[in-house]
């Protein structure tokens, strides 16, 4: 996907949040990335490290928590969780009558600042 645009966007949010709360340095940024979000964690880490220099996050680390895909099947009533990037049918019964409620996350969760 667009790990560079995503890293730019998350750096901007982190810097704005940090400054807005009266701090001057970011030590760590924690993000949640869904398995089905299309984002590759390695590429995001690479882009984050490339873009952070010259900002108040220049020494910051990026912690990525990967979120599995989770859903509910209305055919067999199972709640499922999977580490597949794309769900094509209910893993239990094969039906396509399922809804997903997790796995597309692209969220900033926490900042460690000084």
């Amino acid at each position: 996907m667009h790990e560079v645009s995503i890293a730019e966007s998350l750096l901007k949010i982190a810097v704005d949040e940090c400054k807005g709360n009266g701090y001057t340095k970011i030590n760590n940024v924690k993000v949640c990335i869904g398995y089905a979000s299309g984002v590759m964690p390695e590429a995001l880490l690479f882009a984050f490290d490339a873009l952070k220099s010259g900002t108040i996050a220049s020494d910051a680390t990026l912690t990525i928590e990967e979120v599995p895909v989770a859903g509910h099947c209305s055919s067999c009533s199972v709640d499922f969780e999977t580490y597949e990037k794309f769900v094509l049918c209910c893993p239990q019964c094969g039906s396509s009558a399922y809804t997903l409620h997790a796995g597309r996350e692209l969220d900033i969760k926490e900042l460690e600042v000084a």
């Binding site: 996907m1 966007s9 998350l10 094509l88 396509s96 969220d107 900033i108």
Partner: protein, 214 residues
């Protein structure tokens, strides 16, 4: 010191997309984000659609390309308002690019605005631009393996246009597999099989479009 943020990383794009959507809806314009790989026939579909609906609907177009104005020139020939965006390298349109060209369009005069995204089967599906609906085009020459190789666009689209069906005698392509796999990825996707070249199947698409925008 740690503190919670809980913010969506792409929130800036989503915020601008919502603003675009509000502007379009206030002006009474229905907006389609048209996506496909390069060469699937987005511009041909637009030309065919405009020819079929020109008298029923006032249509405007935003053309997104990395560079060049070929598509805008083609659309301009049909006498409908068109704005070209050159992304200068970016492989998709984002909400801000659309926001910047809104003043160049006579929105109050339009019923339908089609945003032709950059040809790419991956990235455009990730970015909202302010559309009411995403529509994708897949030409049968691309092969029947595409839904399962590029699932996100099939999952995000409200309609799939299977184009170039006139080529089917010359190709070893299983159109039923394209339909079956698309429906398993997205049970509510509406599928149209047509040929912009021969005109076959175009009426079903334009009639459906007309019901959505009326």
């Amino acid at each position: 010191m740690e503190f919670k943020v809980a913010s969506k990383i792409l929130q800036a794009n989503e915020r601008i997309a919502l603003e675009n959507r509000r502007i379009f809806s206030d002006a009474g314009v229905y907006v389609i984000n048209l996506m496909s790989s390069p060469g699937a026939g987005k511009t041909s579909l637009l030309e065919t659609t405009i020819a079929g609906l020109k008298h029923a609907l006032k249509i405007g177009v935003i053309e997104g390309d990395i560079t060049g104005t070929d598509d805008a020139v083609r659309i301009n020939r049909l006498g409908v308002p068109v704005v070209q965006i050159n992304t200068g390298g970016a492989c998709h349109l984002d909400a801000n690019m659309i926001n910047e060209v809104i003043p160049d369009l006579p929105l109050d005069e339009l019923d339908l605005l089609v945003i032709e995204n950059v040809g790419n089967l991956v990235c455009p599906a990730e970015f909202q631009v302010g559309e009411d609906m995403k529509v994708m085009v897949l030409s049968i020459a691309e092969g029947h393996d595409k839904p399962l190789k590029y699932p996100l666009m099939f999952q995000e689209s409200a309609a799939l246009i299977i184009n170039k069906i006139d080529l089917s005698p010359f190709l070893d392509v299983d159109i039923d597999k394209i339909k079956k796999d698309s429906l398993s990825l997205n049970p509510s996707i509406k599928i149209f099989e047509l040929s912009c070249k021969s005109g076959k199947g175009v009426d079903q698409w334009t009639s459906w479009l007309q019901t959505l925008t009326s």
